[in-house]
């Protein structure tokens, strides 16, 4: 069963494209990654799901209900953490969380305590006195305190230190084990790789790839930067999986996808002055997908 069904969704801001013809299903109980560079349309999709903005065409169904007509019923079971958190500055954390809890017909006090302790959040401080990271923690607690069936996260880790990010990921995995569906939007590939079962890649408002994480992980990309006096151009041109090859005097730079052994085999017989093997940026991977899509 699908928790989220997005059909033919398009959103325009005047003449400007927000998202275009998005079709997407998120299955019940999965952690779904939604990844794309800034301005790709991730937040537009999420804001349309939450009925903060209306679709230009197409529809979104969440729990089988129309996201516009039955927004209130849907919201009962959604926990949302926006990319930037803004709350009422003159409120104390506990007052804000109690206010948030007052919208749901259940006692959330135990969950508020548990989550605050886990995230080391001081409930008695005023919102205006909190650092950005602590505000983000308030956002996490307010998004989860009512035990939602669907958790929607828009760039959730910005502002959290690495230790807190780990705790947060563990919390999300625990929630998922308890049957919660998670929609996780990010522009950081490694976060999505850590958590998600499936991932959709969005670029310039269009979904360009939708695949299982297991498959995406197989398609591991590396960026090689090699400095050597030997000429490698011809040999590299014969290896399948190399793209974006850049040659400048003694320097070779390229993105490689596939078995690493042909590369290491080639390099083993030559004198190398320097070598750097690193994760390519998301932009580079997107560009790769994008070019492949255009070739089709």
């Amino acid at each position: 069963m699908n928790t989220i069904e997005i059909s033919n969704l398009s959103k325009f801001y005047g003449k400007n494209r927000g998202v275009l013809d998005i079709d997407l299903n998120v299955r019940e109980g999965e952690i779904f990654g939604f990844i794309g560079p800034n301005g790709a349309g991730k937040s537009t999709t999420i804001r349309t799901m939450l009925n903060l903005i209306s679709p230009t065409r197409g529809e979104i169904r969440i729990f089988g209900m129309d996201s516009v007509k039955e927004a209130e019923k849907i919201a009962q079971h959604i926990g949302y953490l926006p990319s930037e958190v803004f709350y009422y500055d003159d409120m104390k954390v506990k007052d804000l969380l109690n206010y948030s809890a007052s919208f749901y017909n259940k006692d959330c006090s135990k969950r508020i305590r548990e989550l605050s302790e886990l995230l080391e959040l001081d409930l008695n401080r005023k919102i205006e006195d909190l650092s950005y990271g602590n505000r983000k923690k308030v956002g996490i607690v307010q998004g989860l305190l009512h035990d939602p069936k669907l958790i929607i996260l828009d760039e959730p880790t910005s502002g959290l230190d690495p230790l807190m990010q780990q705790k947060f990921f563990q919390l999300l995995l625990d929630e998922n084990r308890r049957g919660k569906t998670i929609f996780f939007s990010s522009h950081i590939l490694s976060e999505v790789q850590k958590l998600c079962h499936r991932v959709a890649i969005i670029k310039e408002g269009e979904i360009i790839k939708l695949q299982d994480m297991a498959t995406l992980k197989k398609e591991t990309y590396k960026r090689f930067t090699i400095e050597t006096g030997h000429s490698l151009e011809e040999a590299l041109g014969q290896i399948e999986g190399i793209s974006d090859l850049f040659v400048s005097e003694n320097l070779y730079r390229f993105i490689y996808k596939g078995d690493l052994n042909p590369i290491t085999g080639l390099l083993s017989g030559i004198h190398i002055q320097d070598i750097l093997i690193e994760e390519p940026t998301l932009e580079e991977i997107f560009l790769h997908y994008y070019e492949k899509e255009e070739e089709k």
Partner: protein, 264 residues
């Protein structure tokens, strides 16, 4: 009713400050009345030396000015200006403050319809204006009993307050409408002050130029306090117009908020 209750909590400090300031202004201005009465003749002479246009602009009417209610009506115009700024603030900030403060994401993703959200915001603003008017109304009655032994017409006082209250509700509904219509509302108090004073200037112009059509353009002419004192009642056309405008702006606000796009 959680939005309603929370809104009252948010506004309690500013409401207290508004009430105290208006209370002090009202009391201090009313305290001028007894010494002014003692010097009645000479005071009137001074006033008569001013050009009629000047007196008209400030709604000074010799037939009513020397009575308690007439003097109060004159003062009330300035208290009303402040109350209209308060009403406009409340209207503009109902959604406008949530959008400019970016808290709309928090509140509008909760299980609450936009209609209910707006209704609770309107009710909280209505409650604040009602309480403020009741407080000032009781203060005025008390001052009336303290300052004058005769010349007591509480019905007229009540009519002046209800008229003023309707003008405030009209500004509240206009503020609501503008707060939802505009993409973002920044500098809410400055905007409120500008709008209220523009309408007040139109009211002064209508008095000076004696152009009746200008009366329809400004709520400050819908309930002429001097007329209320003389007639002990309202002009039905303006009463109806104010009710129609309140309903019009409120209905538009309900329609607009349904379609309002909340951008990040």
């Amino acid at each position: 009713m959680n939005v309603y209750v929370q809104e009252l909590r948010f506004l309690r400090k500013s409401t207290l400050i508004w009430n105290l300031s208006l209370f002090l202004s009202l009391v201090l201005m009313l305290l001028i009345y007894p010494p002014m009465m003692e010097e009645g003749e000479s005071f009137l002479k001074v006033l008569q030396s001013y050009p009629p246009e000047f007196l008209a602009a400030f709604s000074i009417n010799f037939d009513t000015f020397m009575s308690f209610n007439g003097f109060f009506g004159y003062i009330q115009l300035y208290v009303l200006l402040a109350l209209c700024v308060l009403a406009m603030n409340l209207g503009l900030s109902a959604l406008g403050k949530e959008i400019s403060g970016k808290t709309a994401d928090f509140i509008l993703t909760k299980p609450i319809t936009r209609r209910r959200f707006l209704t609770e915001k309107i009710l909280s603003a209505f409650t604040i204006l009602t309480l403020t008017n009741l407080f000032l109304g009781f203060t005025t009655v008390l001052m009336n009993f303290l300052l004058v032994k005769e010349d007591r017409n509480l019905t007229v006082l009540l009519l002046i307050y209800i008229g003023g209250f309707l003008i405030q509700i009209l500004f509240l509904s206009l503020g609501l409408f503008l707060g939802i219509l505009r993409k973002r509302v920044r500098f809410i108090t400055s905007l409120s002050l500008s709008i209220v004073f523009i309408f007040y200037i139109v009211s002064m112009l209508s008095q000076i130029l004696k152009k009746d059509f200008l009366n329809y353009l400004t709520p400050f002419r819908y309930f002429d306090f001097n007329q209320i004192i003389l007639d002990s009642g309202y002009e039905m056309t303006y009463l109806l117009l104010s009710v129609v405008l309140i309903l019009f702006f409120t209905a538009l606000s309900y329609l607009l908020i349904q379609k309002k796009e909340i951008h990040g």
